[in-house]
C-alpha cells in the first residue's frame, strides 16, 4: 500500500507518495493527523528544506523508523523529537542547535508537481513563510 497526500503551498497543488513499507507506524500516525494547515518556513540549521512543526506528533521517545541523517531532494522527512515535517528541495540534514547529528524518518517523496513545490519551499528562505495544507489524496 502506498498512500498519497495532496500538498498545497500558497495555492499551488502537488502530490506526494508515502512510504508505508519502510516506515509503517510513522506514516500511519502522520496519516491520522491529516489534514494539517500551517505555515511553512525555511530550515535554519538543516540546509535546503522547509518545515512545519506538528506539535501533536512531537514525542522524543518515539522510535525513528527508516532513519536518515541527510535528506535528498524531493524527500519528505519527519523528526518525532520535535514533530518536524520537512520538504527537502536540495541537500538537507536532520539537525538543530541542540542536536548536530540527528535522525529523521524518511516518510515519502514528492510525486506530482514536485519541481514547483520544491521551488516554493526554496522561496521561503528569501520570501518568508508560506501557507501549507496537507491532506489525504488516496490509498
Amino acid at each position: 500500500m502506498s498512500r498519497r497526500i495532496r500538498i498545497t503551498i500558497d495555492g499551488v497543488v502537488g502530490e506526494a507518495t508515502l512510504d508505508d513499507a519502510a516506515a509503517p507506524t510513522t506514516v500511519a500516525r502522520f496519516w491520522d493527523s491529516l489534514p494539517i494547515r500551517d505555515r511553512l518556513r525555511h530550515l535554519r540549521w538543516g540546509g535546503e528544506g522547509a518545515y512545519i512543526l506538528i506539535r501533536s506528533l512531537a514525542d522524543a521517545s518515539y522510535p525513528v523508523e527508516n532513519p536518515v541523517t541527510f535528506y535528498p531532494s524531493a524527500s519528505l522527512a519527519f523528526r518525532p523529537q520535535h514533530g518536524e515535517f520537512v520538504i527537502a528541495y536540495g541537500q538537507g540534514q536532520a539537525r538543530s542547535h541542540q542536536v548536530a547529528g540527528a535522525y529523521a524518518t524518511m516518510i515519502g517523496t514528492l510525486s506530482g508537481n514536485a519541481e514547483t513545490l520544491m521551488d516554493l519551499a526554496r522561496a521561503t528562505r528569501a520570501e518568508g513563510g508560506k501557507e501549507i495544507l496537507i491532506e489525504r489524496a488516496g490509498e
Binding site: R44, W45, G47, E127, G128
Partner: protein, 138 residues
C-alpha cells in the same frame, strides 16, 4: 573600537567593531555598504549579506556566534549577523569566520527585526559611518 551605524529593515541602531582586525578595517573602508539580508540555512539564527571585503590571515577565527554578533565569512565574502543560537556552518560542516563586533545601540530592536526574517523574508541592511566616531572609515 569603532562605532558604525547599522540599519536592518526599519530599525536604526549602532554596532561596535574591533578595529584591531584587518577585516574590520577593510569593512570600514567599504562603508557605506548597502545589502540584502537573507536568512542563514545551515548556521542557525543568522542573516547573511554580501559584504565584499576580505579578512586578514592573522584575524582570529571562530565558529560560535552569540546573539548580536557581526562576523565576516572571508571565504565567501559574506557578512553575518546573529540574533540567537548560531554557529557558522556550511553543508560540509563547521566553517570558520571572523567575529568583527556586536550590536550596541537599539540591540533588542535589531535582534527582533532579524528574528522576523524567518517569517517575513529578506530585509535590507545598511552599514554606515557613525556620526559619533571620527575613526569610522579611516
Amino acid at each position: 573600537m569603532s562605532e558604525i551605524s547599522i540599519r536592518i529593515g526599519e530599525v536604526d541602531g549602532t554596532a561596535e567593531l574591533d578595529d584591531a582586525l584587518e577585516a574590520t578595517r577593510a569593512l570600514l573602508r567599504a562603508l557605506p555598504l548597502h545589502g540584502e539580508l537573507t536568512h542563514g540555512m545551515w548556521s542557525g539564527m543568522t542573516g547573511e549579506f554580501d559584504a565584499r571585503v576580505a579578512a586578514g590571515e592573522d584575524d582570529p577565527r571562530v565558529i560560535g556566534l552569540a546573539p548580536g554578533s557581526i562576523a565576516l565569512d572571508p571565504e565567501h565574502g559574506l557578512g553575518i549577523v546573529s540574533y540567537g543560537n548560531a554557529e557558522s556552518r556550511t553543508a560540509l560542516g563547521p566553517h570558520y569566520v571572523v567575529r568583527l563586533g556586536e550590536f550596541r545601540g537599539r540591540r533588542a530592536e535589531l535582534l527582533a527585526v532579524l528574528g522576523r526574517m524567518h517569517d517575513e523574508g529578506n530585509k535590507p541592511i545598511v552599514l554606515g559611518r557613525s556620526a559619533g566616531d571620527d575613526r569610522a572609515g579611516a
